[in-house]
Amino acid sequence: MHHIISIGDFDRDGIDRLLDHAGQIQKKKYDAHALDGRILAVLFFEPSTRTRLSFQSAMARLGGTSLSVGSVEACSMAKGETLADTVRVVSGYADAIVIRHPKEGAARLAAEFSTVPVINAGDGAGQHPSQTFLDLYTIRQSMPLDGLDIALIGDLRYGRTAHSLASALSLYNARLHTICPKGLELPATLAAQLAAKGTEIIEHDNLEEIIPDMDVLYVTRIQRERFPDSASYFNVASSYRITPELLAGAKKRLIVLHPLPRVDEIDPRVDALPHARYFEQSRNGVPVRMAMLMQVMQ
């Protein structure tokens, strides 16, 4: 049985294959009845409306149906019950399960107890492979994935999407440039793992200085809760804000990505620039998730 739990379970070939498939799907080259009669259980113990809708839309486009359990229902269903039991029961109702859960490793656990394939749609501070696939897919729409200079900007300590993207890009000989507030650096264990794979990680203080050399800016949200008061938050957040002025010296092919929702990290005036790809990135969620669903159910 094939599960999709962590981007770390994929090698470069596996990633390329899935992205190629998503590309075919986006060109409408797919069987709209591929998953006729199949049922997807969407089990979210934590709210994330976009991700949930994106999986449901993907399932519907392939002819399947989905049973969606929102976070409130999921939590009350699981009241006092272990996740293991919930998953055993739900796998009797569906042909695959998409799960989002606040605990790290929850999807790996679900896969141990499920009798149907499991797709991880985010487990706490852990993995979120469908986001990583669509990040990679969006980059590949503009440029080959090999040897990129990518700047990871913002909260690199808790930002799991940045972690999995960094791990995936290490398979493609990327150079990672990190720019983040003090205290929100990449976790040391992750940095060590990446370095062990031969990935170059370069820390920077000044965003403006490195813009001309970058191919991708991956911007993540800096959460207000991480700071003692609003003033220090605004002070820090404003120094990482992407503006048209900042992008003036950028390469033509530079793209700006953000896993959305954004708050103040990107000036809305950037939206009109050709560099802005975050809405496209979000739209790419459907074909990428269609490819994932087909991979586990066919």
């Binding site: 859960h101 264990t189 060590a192």
Partner: protein, 157 residues
């Protein structure tokens, strides 16, 4: 000759046993962790003797644990390997070494170590045992990817 001499010295520290297991070449200072792994306490039956910081040619210092009337399971041997990869297990029957073997570090450790990550699903009431994969840089929680790279014994459950 040298070996015999060493054996003599050990003989002074720890009495010979009739039946049981001698765990030799334990890294210096790790004997008590070996005892912990084997779950030997005042309520269990085995007679136990420990020698610690015994001078040893190859290792500098080593520890030795002798257990009467007990042979170890594969899982127990794997656990010892984790904290003392050079340990040797001697099964003693009727005062003679019946079998002597080294230990091998397992590729997957189940139920031995608690994941230090409070957000990890393995630290909840789910019906699972912790699982760590052994890699050169340390052991990885298979659930949350947390890496324990040093002082593994302090995380032993």
């Amino acid at each position: 000759m040298k070996n015999n001499e060493a054996a003599e010295n050990e003989g002074l520290l720890v009495r010979r046993i009739k039946n049981g297991t001698v765990i030799d070449h334990i890294d210096g200072g790790e004997a008590l962790n070996v005892v912990k792994i084997l779950g030997i306490t005042g309520t269990t039956q085995e007679a136990l003797s420990i020698a610690t910081n015994v001078p040893s040619g190859n290792m500098g210092k080593k520890d030795i644990v002798k257990l009467t009337n007990r042979e170890l399971s594969k899982e127990e041997v794997d656990r010892i390997a984790l904290i003392s990869p050079r340990a040797t297990i001697n099964i003693i029957r009727n005062f003679k070494v019946f079998e002597k073997k080294g230990v091998e570090i397992p590729t997957l450790i189940e139920g031995l170590v608690r994941c230090p990550n409070p957000g990890c699903i393995s630290n909840t009431h789910e019906p699972i045992r912790s699982k760590f994969r052994v890699r050169p840089e340390g052991i990885h929680c298979i659930y949350c990817d947390w890496v324990i790279s040093r002082d593994i014994t302090s995380h032993i459950i």
